[in-house]
């Protein structure tokens, strides 16, 4: 079981650094959701099932949806700005 804990801790660190290192914002958000799910498992390992429930619903679910929705908005705003610039030389 110790090996599992070590792997889970390293997975948390890896997911966090993946969020920071990736150049694509979309990939960052997806890795953030992965981080939230790993954290939910971690809470069960720390014998905190309440936190695991909350983390799975909020940290992984809701926050991920909020970030992805904003990402879509940003992308559309960028397209709009670009298409407005192009017609004018």
């Amino acid at each position: 079981m110790i090996a599992f804990d070590i792997l889970l801790g390293l997975g948390l660190i890896l997911a966090a650094s993946g969020v920071f290192l990736s150049t694509h914002l979309f990939r960052s958000v997806v890795l953030f959701v992965v981080f939230g799910l790993l954290l939910a498992i971690t809470w069960t390992r720390l014998q905190a099932p309440d936190l695991a429930l909350a983390e799975a619903a909020i940290g992984a679910g809701l926050t991920g949806v909020l970030f992805l929705d904003t990402l879509g908005t940003l992308r559309k705003a960028k397209q709009k700005r670009r298409s407005k610039k192009e017609p004018r030389p």
């Binding site: 429930l53 619903a57 809701l62 929705d69």
Partner: protein
């Protein structure tokens, strides 16, 4: 040049943080108060069988009260920043029949699960926050599928957002009328009062998170193209 300097400074700060935290964690002084024992000793008086719910809504209910206040401030600020046209902008999203059918089956399931989690909070893992998060998830799914619940009734929405805080505060203050300290539940009533507060909090937390999502400024506005050049 500027960038390398920035990375160097950030690296120094991060390494300093890591060193300080590891020192603090590995050489932590012996804690004198045994909190789990104290909670276990007083659990019977709290009217709740699950220790975490007891801590949240009885032993440290002041924290929870202020947390609801924080949520209320956040959602009021979010609502102040909303835009009228953001509400109508995405309602005409194409209604995928598959998504529509799935949502119709999923929503009642989610709501039932949240009620179960709320109920189980008094004796097992669960409670107002997790149930509220599930309600919010249901609202977000409904929103993504094109249903427009939150913007139907504006006055009702505001009342619902504030209801959790108002009820909690009323219970807290009404204890003072009987000569008890602030936030002290009357003898024998603690369990049912906590459950009432939890039920209303679930509703308010769910609604708060939904409206922070739904009322976020949108991307397509009829006038947005004209006013910034």
């Amino acid at each position: 040049m500027n960038r390398t300097l920035r990375i160097a400074v950030a690296g120094t700060v991060a390494l300093g943080t890591l060193y300080a935290l590891l020192v603090a964690i590995l050489w932590v002084p012996e804690i004198q108060v045994n909190l789990p024992q104290q909670v276990a000793l007083n659990l019977e008086q709290s009217g709740i069988a699950h220790p975490i719910t007891a801590v949240l809504l009885n032993f440290r209910s002041y924290d929870t009260l202020l947390e609801i206040a924080v949520l209320l401030v956040a959602v009021v600020t979010g609502l102040a920043l909303r835009e009228r046209d953001a509400l109508t902008a995405s309602t005409e999203q194409a209604r995928d029949p598959m998504l529509h059918a799935l949502t119709r089956r999923l929503l009642p399931l989610l709501l039932i699960t949240s009620v179960y989690i709320l109920w189980s909070g008094s004796y097992a893992p669960g409670g107002a926050f997790q149930a509220g998060a599930l309600v919010a998830a249901a609202g977000v799914i409904a929103r993504l599928a094109g249903y427009d619940i939150a913007s139907r009734a504006d006055v009702l929405l505001r009342l619902g957002l504030a209801l959790g805080f108002i009820l909690f505060l009323t219970v807290a203050v009404s204890a003072m009328l009987g000569g008890r300290p602030f936030l002290n539940y009357p003898e024998g009533w603690a369990g049912s009062l906590i459950f009432l507060i939890e039920a209303v909090l679930t509703f308010s937390i769910g609604l708060t998170l939904i409206s922070l999502f739904v009322h976020a400024p949108g991307d397509s506005s009829p006038r947005g193209g004209a006013d910034d050049d």
